[in-house]
């Protein structure tokens, strides 16, 4: 359960508050009353972040406070970390149901107020502002929009033409395919490995973690595709959110290409606010780690999300240090840029991402430790995930999608002999496009797991 109808009122109230405050900040700034504008901003941030904290972190803070008290009184050092939201919502202290999409629209509000404070124009029309906050294609799981762009498009939406319709519909179909044909079956396949406390073999642990990375990528980018597709049908172009992050050659690039709208939000409103890279290497590393902890915390109120964020920050810091190390050694730099060097860095990056996303997926720390010990220690043990892997038949479907994707990318960029058979103005002529849809639909049915899996990112 992640939604109550009454939360519509919450969104409405927050929209009104932010709309008024935005205009207030602009007015105060126009009258050059800096102090007043700043206090408006603070009030707005307090409301937005306060609401987010209440719904997302109250249980976590409360539970940990209680545990700290109990822990110190009984001198029991074993802190059982809280699980996920489902677990939190079940806690007897207080059951707060998370409003759907709150993490996303709160971040949009924060962006709005900050940008207005930094000198951008506020939105005068309440209807326009409300559409920005409650634009359904991106309301539930992003991408996190920028209001300047959105408002400009809202004023002049692209008329729905046939090419636009096909583009939007293709995006929706592509997203649906990623979700139904790829993410769900993989999710169903790897779920047992994350739920068990019994020993995992290295192969199982790595495959489960890699499976989760692919699942979360297909799931989330699939959702974004569908959101962008539905927005396109209304003539609005939403920002892209993923740019093949998993093929990145280092962790910093990966984070620039993964959930790009969140990344750029964090960069603009956390990292730069903290001082960014201006005050020396140490401060920069500190800022990176703090930003990524915020990123982890944004995903959920739980210790393993915080640790996950910290690890990402550390990874990026390490990469930055490695880069400055290389800068002084041109020979080594050459080697690292060779084919082998590139391959090694890609593999290392993926391994790091798998290991840390394994932590992200684990319900709590003990499960994560179990996974990690499997990854590091239990080599040469039976590869039990092989059976469900073969049974699901997911590998050829994944490969087919990858090949299809590579082909379309190639065709997009290079003129070929095939063009007169398949191209017609846009990338594909309609007979080809409809044929692709047929194939996608059948493969979706073919790989349907026995139970429907909800979107991973709806919980954030």
């Amino acid at each position: 359960m992640s939604w109550l109808p009454v939360y519509g009122l919450l969104l409405l109230a927050m929209t009104i508050a932010n709309w008024l405050l935005g205009m207030g900040i602009e007015k105060a700034a126009a009258q050059s009353r800096k102090q007043l504008a700043f206090s408006y901003l603070l009030l707005g941030l307090a409301i937005d972040v306060g609401v987010l904290c209440y719904y997302k972190y109250f249980n976590f803070l409360f539970e940990n406070a209680v545990k700290a008290v109990i822990g110190t009184s009984t001198l029991l050092p074993q802190i059982k970390l809280s699980q996920d939201f489902v677990h939190l919502a079940d806690s007897p202290f207080l059951s707060v149901v998370l409003p759907l999409g709150i993490s996303f629209f709160v971040f949009e509000f924060v962006h709005y107020l900050s940008d207005v404070y930094r000198g951008d124009k506020s939105v005068k029309s309440f209807l326009v502002f409300a559409s920005f906050a409650a634009f359904f294609p991106s309301q539930i799981a992003g991408p996190i929009k920028r209001y300047q762009d959105f408002v400009a498009q809202l004023a002049k939406p692209e008329p729905l033409t046939r090419p636009l319709f096909y583009e939007g519909a293709s995006l929706i179909m592509q997203g649906l395919f990623k979700k139904v044909a790829l993410a769900d079956p993989i999710g169903a396949m790897i779920a047992p490995s994350f739920a068990t406390m019994s020993t995992l073999s290295a192969a199982d642990a790595w495959l489960a973690a890699a499976g989760f990375v692919i699942q979360v990528y297909c799931d989330f980018s699939g959702y974004t595709d569908m959101g962008r597709g539905s927005a396109l049908l209304m003539g609005i172009r939403l920002p892209i959110n993923f740019e093949l992050p998993l093929l990145s050659k280092d962790i910093s690039t990966l984070w620039r290409k993964w959930h790009m709208s969140l990344g750029s939000w964090l960069k603009d409103y956390v990292y730069i606010t903290l001082g960014g890279s201006r005050k020396g290497a140490f401060t920069q590393s500190r800022n990176l780690v703090i930003t990524m902890i915020v990123c982890g915390l944004w995903h959920g109120a739980s210790w393993h999300y915080i640790l996950w964020g910290a690890l990402q920050g550390l990874g990026m810091t390490l990469h930055r240090m490695w880069c400055s190390f290389l800068a002084k050694r041109p020979v080594l730099d050459e080697v690292s840029k060779s084919f082998v060097g590139n391959a090694i860095s890609r593999v290392l990056t993926l391994a790091f991402v798998c290991a840390t996303f394994g932590l992200f997926r684990s319900p709590d720390m003990p499960h994560a430790m179990n996974l990690w010990s499997g990854m590091a220690l239990h080599f040469g043990q039976p590869f039990t995930l092989m059976v469900p892997l073969l049974k699901s038949g997911i590998m050829p479907i994944l490969a087919a999608y990858f090949i299809f994707w590579q082909m379309t990318e190639y065709l997009r960029k290079h003129p070929t002999m095939l063009d007169r058979f398949i191209k017609d103005g846009s990338l594909f002529a309609n007979p080809v496009r409809l044929a692709c849809w047929t194939a996608a639909l059948i493969l979706m049915v073919a790989s349907k797991p026995l139970e429907a899996v909800p979107f991973v990112y709806f919980q954030f």
Partner: protein, 522 residues
């Protein structure tokens, strides 16, 4: 100059028919583009669409082949038996457990078996329905192969077990298959497996599902046993059968069809949306007219919506994990007492019936349809609620029907025994451990015409005792098991590897004794 005059006309045409379909629109748009005087015809465009769709389907077939998906069709249409195993066909079972099998040139899983019996070998032929067939586990784990290994060791001579089990078979189909195929392999023993409701399936009306197309058998008092395949030949004239026959090659080769067939077993014809889609394939004209007439009724739209939801929702959830709907169960419970009164179809009951091919609703429903023909004195009310007098009449009709079915089973088994004797084989009968008794699925009917599976087994035992046919009850030992152990023997309807192990262990001493006693004199 002609180009100038032609182009606006084409555009005007496009505008006039803009709302017909995308294809048409595309066609006209393409037409208006051609400026060199050569008009592209609509047919070229439609052809283009079709060619690309075909390419997509072929690519999907290839991907599915790599993925090992879509090998879920295994029934070939048969004029006499209704259906048999396909030949030279790979089958992958995914609904319960996971097993890949290959049906050889004769539709057998044991691909290395030859027609000629190797000298010195004792051959056992297994007959039965899906429980015997055991497609849910790999061949080596089926009770047949376990027995082969076990008996070879215990008897100190080669024993070969060949599995002729086929999903959905009734006793009459098994008898016919034996005559046609089993004796070619010269078995020394035929072990007939009896599963729940087999005796009612001997008199069951074919429906849309191929697994439910069966010949009739009937033994009237004082008459000879009649085995009649006219039900099958009649069924073959239905649009559905014609459709399936037409696409015969596709059915045995296409993996996309395999997916359709799996979805059919899952959602079945009880899903109105699926049924309509299939009707569109089989009888397009009639269905479209019917739909047009129905479209005015808002209830139809609601049903259609519900059907779509049901199709999209994972089936196992609906069937097994939802709390059973009380009212429906009560309905069914009443109906099984009163027999023919439940002409009305209950959605939940039917869904459950589909999950195990031999489910109660199908057998009952079909029996209902035919019961009046046999027992003419009974009055069959159309309403599910029956008056006391009607209920009494129904009960009487049911008991007459039950008696007829018992007699038919008796005659069939006797017939099989004499057939076996003619071919130098011994007939033995086993009562299979049906899930219906041991670990019943919530909401599933336990009885048919007031007879539960244990009752059926008793009938079978009496029949065997009367005809001096060796009988082994493979159900009984499991009844002493704990609930948990019993459930570990099954997937949703069929035996797990553990279940097969159990069955082999129960059968082994019985078979050792039978084989030693019959071959001891040699």
């Amino acid at each position: 100059m002609p180009n100038v005059t032609k182009t606006p006309k084409a555009i005007k045409d496009a505008g006039a028919t803009a709302d017909t379909s995308i294809d048409r629109l595309e066609a006209l748009a393409a037409q208006s583009k051609t400026t060199d005087g050569k008009k592209k015809s609509v047919w070229t465009t439609i052809g283009k669409y079709l060619v690309w769709q075909l390419i997509a389907l072929l690519v999907v077939e290839m991907v599915l082949a790599c993925a090992g998906l879509g090998e879920e069709e295994l029934f070939a249409i048969d004029k006499e038996l209704g259906m048999t195993h396909m030949t030279d066909k790979s089958v992958t079972w995914r609904k319960e457990g996971y097993a890949r099998s290959y049906l050889n040139w004769d539709g057998l899983r044991e691909s290395d078996v030859t027609l000629a019996k190797p000298p010195g070998t004792y051959r056992i032929a297994l007959l039965g329905d899906s429980m015997v067939e055991g497609l849910q586990v790999p061949l080596e784990e089926t009770f047949g192969q376990r027995l082969q290994k076990d008996l070879t060791q215990k008897l100190g001579r080669p024993v070969q077990v060949i599995n002729f089990g086929t999903s959905g078979y009734s006793t009459v189909q098994e008898a016919l298959l034996m005559k046609r195929k089993v004796f070619k392999y010269a078995p020394d023993m035929v072990l007939l497996g009896y599963d729940a409701r087999d005796m009612f399936e001997n008199w069951a009306t074919p429906d849309q599902s191929l697994a439910n197309v069966r010949p009739y058998a009937l033994k009237l008092p004082g008459q000879k046993l009649v085995i009649d395949s006219s039900s099958v030949t009649t069924w073959l004239k239905t649009p559905r059968a014609k459709f399936l026959t037409t696409i015969g090659w596709i059915r045995s080769h296409s993996r996309i069809w395999g997916l359709v067939s799996a979805a059919e077993t899952e959602a079945g014809f009880h899903n109105p949306v699926y049924a309509t889609l299939m009707a569109l394939c089989t009888q397009p004209g009639k269905t479209i007219r019917k739909l047009a007439a129905q479209a005015r009724d808002p209830k139809v739209w609601k049903d259609c919506f519900d059907g779509l939801i049901a199709m999209a929702t994972p089936s196992f959830k609906i069937q097994f994990f939802d709390p059973p709907q009380k009212t429906v169960i009560k309905d069914l419970a009443v109906s099984s007492e009163t027999g023919p009164a439940i002409a009305k179809q209950s959605a939940v009951g039917k869904d459950l019936a589909v999950t195990s091919e031999t489910g109660p609703a199908i057998a009952k429903e079909s029996a209902v349809a035919k019961a009046p023909a046999v027992a003419k004195e009974s009055t069959i009310p159309k309403e599910p609620t029956v008056s006391a007098a009607d209920a009494a009449a129904n009960k009487k009709a049911a008991s007459i029907f039950l008696k007829l079915m018992k007699n038919t089973l008796d005659a069939l088994v006797l017939d099989m025994q004499s057939d076996c004797q003619k071919h130098g084989a011994v007939l033995c009968v086993q009562a299979l451990p049906s899930r219906a008794t041991l670990a019943p699925i919530a909401g599933m009917d336990a009885t048919t015409y007031g007879l539960d599976y244990e009752g059926e087994v008793k009938v079978l035992q009496t029949v065997c005792a009367k005809n001096k046919i060796p009988f082994v009850d493979a159900l009984k030992p499991a009844t002493a098991y704990s609930k948990q152990e019993q459930e570990s023997l099954y997937y949703s309807a069929h035996l797990t590897a553990k279940g097969h192990d159990y069955l082999a262990q129960v059968l082994s001493p019985f078979l050792v004794e039978r084989i030693s006693s019959t071959t001891g004199g040699h």
